[in-house]
Symmetry: C2
Subunit: 203 residues, 2 copies
């Protein structure tokens, strides 16, 4: 998985003034400040000062302060789509989606802000909790499209939308528990919430 964020255009030519910073540099400097000073207390000027760049430059790299912690998320959605497409046809739908979610959340352990730290920041900061809904929407859409394809419906029909929303619900619950328990395993928690759901609706 490339570390280059989606915003980075392939740079049509090598002409022109070279970029003095990068998405990665901003993200890492920002992240350090977020965890030490707190997200709200960190201003864009702080981040700019930390890497010797103006505030206006930061806002050109990221559409908003809220988008910085998510980093290269958009990129990973293409991977998610492929994961789902590669699922065996014979698998029951809920099993396929569940395995897809598991695979999607199998992150490399060497990420620069660790996956856990990033998710902790996102899931415990109110402003980021709120903003993330907009990110989740495209994640849900990937699932809805897959379900629609497998069931011969349209992505905005009731079943695909329901499955997308529910899958997100389970993932969020699992992440929450994962952050609360220092030595919990995310895959295990994803299995557990799914198991709870199944027993819940069929009790």
């Amino acid at each position: 998985m490339p570390t280059t964020p989606a915003h980075a255009k392939p740079r049509s030519s090598l002409r022109g003034r070279p970029a003095v910073t990068s998405h990665a540099e901003i993200e890492q400097a920002a992240f350090r400040l977020f965890v030490t000073k707190g997200f709200e207390a960190t201003t864009l000027d702080d981040i700019g000062e930390a890497i010797g760049v103006g505030r206006r430059t930061i806002t050109r790299y990221y559409p908003s302060k809220n988008d910085i912690p998510w980093g290269q998320f958009d990129r990973t959605l293409d991977g998610f789509r492929e994961i789902l497409r590669a699922m065996p046809e014979g698998l029951p739908l809920h099993e396929a989606v569940h395995r897809g979610v598991l695979a999607f959340n199998d992150f490399p352990a060497d990420a620069s802000p660790s996956h856990r730290d990033r998710m902790r920041l996102i899931l415990t900061t109110p402003a980021l909790q709120a903003h993330s809904v907009l990110r989740y929407a495209s994640w849900r859409e990937v699932i809805a499209e897959y379900v629609a394809e497998r069931t011969g419906t349209r992505p905005d029909d009731l079943l695909p939308q329901t499955v997308g929303q529910v899958a997100l619900a389970l993932a969020l619950t699992s992440y929450q528990a994962w952050l609360a328990d220092e030595d919990a395993s995310l895959p295990h928690l994803l299995d557990a919430t799914m198991a709870h759901l199944r027993s819940y609706v069929s009790a």
Copy 2:
């Protein structure tokens, strides 16, 4: 259900300068502007001007512009709690929760911004979609507490949290479909999403 928002303190005495406006007046004036000019394009000054009041007064009545469309939502949570508490013990858990959600969403048809208009604004405006997660959290907590009580667990255990998240997922899916289809019935859609979920996980 009283129309007085949660912010309104009972006014300890009748002394002092009388309030020149009210939460209700602000909400209705704001709502009219939101639907005509759009949420983003409506400034707090616009709202203040519409009811002859300063911008600072608006921000004292509502903690943020995003909170205005929700109106008296917090109040209704107490009602939700009672609805759930009144459910027959014998009912299967998922049935009890489902009926609770149905009852909670049985709104009087004469509300001032109609329930549908309010939900359309909230669910189609990105800033409000994002902000609303924070409201949903307390709604989910009501469900989690009920589930915890019935299953002898704690509200932050995995099952109650899962049920809370999933119930919200179903409700949001239903609302989305309700807004998309002019003559759809919300209760019917809530039933339908629940049915889809059941067949999905047990297929």
